[in-house]
Symmetry: C2
Subunit: 195 residues, 2 copies
DNA sequence: AAGAAAACCGACTGAGTACTCAGTCTAATT
DNA sequence: AATTAGACTGAGTACTCAGTCGGTTTTCTT
């Protein structure tokens, strides 16, 4: 592997575990075997390393969800919603490092001054909320989901699922024990009320 | 005001705005007018300042919720749940600095090695989840809330409400626009299904 | 008023920080 | 074999950091 790639790989690992500020160039150098100078030969500064990782993150994760969007075919929109929740949790587990980076403070701090960073973050979150919205709209068409504001409900749904990811990441709660109840809650929340 | 108090006040402000790592003792000294030596006369190190703030945070916030727990008297448990959500959001807005500290990475990192920190955090979160659980159990007794696992549902409820706080803090979404839909969602999620 | 104790000061330290730069190495091209 | 360009090096730079220390001022006690 090229030095540049191993720098990015190690930086992804370190940033996700220890955060941006708590990762030093000396540590990154030690971990990759690349001299500190080499790191700054490939990236003009520490922030550029982070931005590159964020760009890769987007190009890694979004297609995963886009592909999923094309593939789904379910009995009802409500079932699709459940499968989407499950899929999100699955990907978040698979790409733990990347999702952990999204749950830190630094990217949002950077986004305030750096438009490129802002754009990337927006694209990522739009994609996330979109897949939930798609499922909700499908459910509304086939009658399995009630008549409620799709985008807002998608946002609420996303925030619920994402906090599960957070629980798992910080080891705050056994997520396995919460998963079934979470799905049931989402069904009650969105499903058509019985009259 | 005593120097020690103004140090704590300024540190609370700085830690919540810029995070623990990004707040320097020099800055804290400048802001309070206390010499750096004075800061270390009152606190043995930076971490102790943070722990003191966390302790104060607990002693500030928990009684607020305990008092609320004693006062409530509502038609149904479901109504009480709604009022509790609203109360949590109200306090989170009132004590923005403190809640912002709870949404950072450092306290959880510290909790991994520092049992005292771990205890404080657990006490705080237990208290938070408790007030939601109390409402759910009340609703189950008066029949306004369905027969579902109270603690887990309380945890899901809490995570929903807390992500609203997060949205507001990071300016990610207009929370006012989401509030009504969130309440309605919670009602559907917990309310007794119509048969 | 004298002495003791507590509060306070700020220059200082040494370890750590992101980043630079003059120069070396490697491999492809001529 | 000579040239060239990109990859790489690591000692060095200017700076920031949490924490220390010797000394001064303020406050309390007798």
């Amino acid at each position: 592997m090229k030095k540049k790639d191993s720098i990015l790989q190690a930086a992804t690992y370190l940033f996700s575990r220890k955060g941006f500020k708590d990762t030093s160039m000396a540590e990154l150098s030690r971990m990759t075997g690349a001299a500190e100078g080499t790191i700054f030969y490939h990236f003009k500064n520490k922030q550029e390393i982070f931005l590159t990782i964020l760009k890769n993150l987007k190009e890694d994760i979004l297609p995963e969800f886009e592909r999923y969007k094309g593939e789904k075919s379910f009995k009802t929109g409500l079932d699709m919603m459940e499968e989407t929740v499950s899929f999100y949790l699955y990907v978040a587990g698979l790409k733990e490092d990347l999702f952990s980076i999204l749950h830190q403070r630094y990217p949002y701090e950077l986004a305030e001054t750096n438009p490129e960073c802002r754009e990337i973050l927006e694209a990522i979150y739009n994609c996330f909320v979109d897949i939930f919205e798609t499922a909700i709209r499908a459910g509304q068409e086939d009658g399995s989901i009630g008549d409620l504001p799709a985008r807002k409900s998608a946002l609420i749904l996303f925030s619920m699922v994402d906090s599960l990811v957070r629980f798992r990441m910080y080891n705050l709660y056994d997520v396995g024990a919460l998963y079934n109840e979470m799905i049931a809650s989402c069904r009650r929340m969105l499903g058509k009320a019985k009259r």
